[in-house]
Point group: C2
Chain length 287, copies 2
């Protein structure tokens, strides 16, 4: 790597970190707005506020910041940002592009999972990341998990990510939507985790364009998901609907612990357990 | 295999199946007695009764019977018996004793997980099985998962299995207790699932003795666990204790989905999902 390339890489890393932090701030502000504007069945509770906790992997390996809110719209929502670096273990080198030449990695990203109080408001996951080995790429996505699928929600959610995709690559939406459907699948239940979204990885053909796409994915999420929350959050729900939500959340736990690459990878390689398992719902049932 | 050996194997299989069924019946009867004798905080609810459901893998592969009770002592308890046979996939043959010579397997067993209503009553798991490939062996064990460990409970539980072990092999208790401690460990939490018990596998040196030991393990469970239930079940508990129970149950879910060999093996090889995941608690929290 030439000095100029190395300097460029450092600038890229800093830009990515700055964006993930900015997106985190924008999302947290918007979600707190939703807590404020809420007038639904739990409006006697106080509006939720995010609490931030820094965590550290020691001086040489970076760390992150968890933002968790337990409110009246969001029963539990976590927004993690992290910037970590180190060496991939022997075992993982083969699985990671560019890690065979050089086991050093650097990774930064934002990861969000929201479990709303209301069973009428869909749960959601969004994550984008920038990874640098001897290569450098972006990955991420978002998927929606309603208890009771609603065509308007599904169309709006998919439409927002389609627009982000279409602005950056003709085949992006079809490829990334299918990747999402394939990935968020529970084979032992023979059912999808939710109604889909997009999932992409190893995007490395053009740093500026890939970063711009990744920013647009974040912006699409920030725009569309709060509108779905607002569509339903003030409506009353029944005990049966709440029960169905708790069972659906059990499926979410099953997916994350049995199948999710990030969760299993993180836990098996000594990641921050609290940050990784922040994705688990506050309450789940297997009746 | 000679005809005489083949006949002997069939007799052995039938004896094992008969025992697992008999143990299941004895456990269900004893657990229903506990539901009847209960006079604690939830005594206004009706005493629970087991419901039985048969399931089938198709004519050639056997099936099983789930017995599930949702009561006032046991929030959810499942007792499964099953007798299945088939061929191990290429992938698993290397991991299973005797399966490299001949991929056919036959397996029968009993598996129990109890999640009590009261956070003062420990959850428990017990499982024993007989597996026949070109070899034939017994395996199983039991482990106790209290929310609030109690020395008397731990001593009685371990003592019961120590007595069963000591009657059959000088080194059994030390080996099988350590195997249990090593197995029921959550590395990502750096904590044990519970207070231990015993775990054994590949016991194949002497069919009659190994079967007798396996029966004694079942009898030890049947004797000791209901006494621990009776020690605590009528005592009042607090909301904080209930909360702690729901969090502890979250750890139980984490262990079963991330680490448990039987759960992962079963789900990945197309086992009966409902029967396998009957072990999950009726309710769990990740606050």
């Amino acid at each position: 790597m030439t000095d100029a390339t190395a300097r460029q890489t450092e600038i890229h890393k800093a830009q990515a970190v700055e964006w993930f932090k900015s997106l985190r701030d924008q999302i947290c502000a918007r979600f707190e707005q939703l807590e404020n504007s809420y007038t639904g069945p739990l409006a006697d509770r106080p509006a939720g506020r995010f609490e931030r906790t820094r965590w550290d992997r020691g001086e040489k390996q970076g760390g992150g910041e968890m933002s968790v809110m337990r409110g009246r719209v969001f029963e539990k929502v976590g927004v993690n940002i992290s910037t970590v670096h180190g060496e991939f273990s022997e075992k993982f080198r083969k699985e990671i592009p560019g890690a065979d030449e050089n086991p050093n990695f650097w990774a930064a990203g934002i990861s969000l999972v929201a479990h709303p109080c209301s069973p009428l408001v869909p749960a959601v996951h969004m994550n984008t990341r920038h990874i640098v080995t001897s290569k450098a790429w972006f990955g991420g996505g978002a998927d929606l998990t309603p208890v009771f699928p609603d065509d308007a929600d599904t169309n709006d959610f998919l439409g927002a990510f389609k627009a982000a995709c279409d602005a950056h690559g003709d085949d992006y939406y079809d490829r990334f939507k299918k990747w999402c459907d394939d990935y968020f699948w529970l084979p032992h239940r023979n059912e999808a985790r939710g109604v889909g979204g997009i999932f992409y990885d190893y995007l490395e053909d053009d740093w500026d364009a890939n970063f711009a796409f990744t920013r647009d994915v974040g912006r699409a999420f920030l725009d569309v998901y709060p509108r779905l929350v607002e569509r339903h959050y003030n409506n009353a729900w029944s005990i049966d609907q709440r029960e169905a939500q708790l069972v659906k959340r059990g499926r979410y736990v099953e997916f994350n612990l049995l199948h999710d690459r990030g969760t299993r990878f993180g836990l098996m390689t000594g990641g921050n357990t609290e940050a990784i398992l922040m994705s688990l719902p506050p309450m789940a049932n297997w009746p």
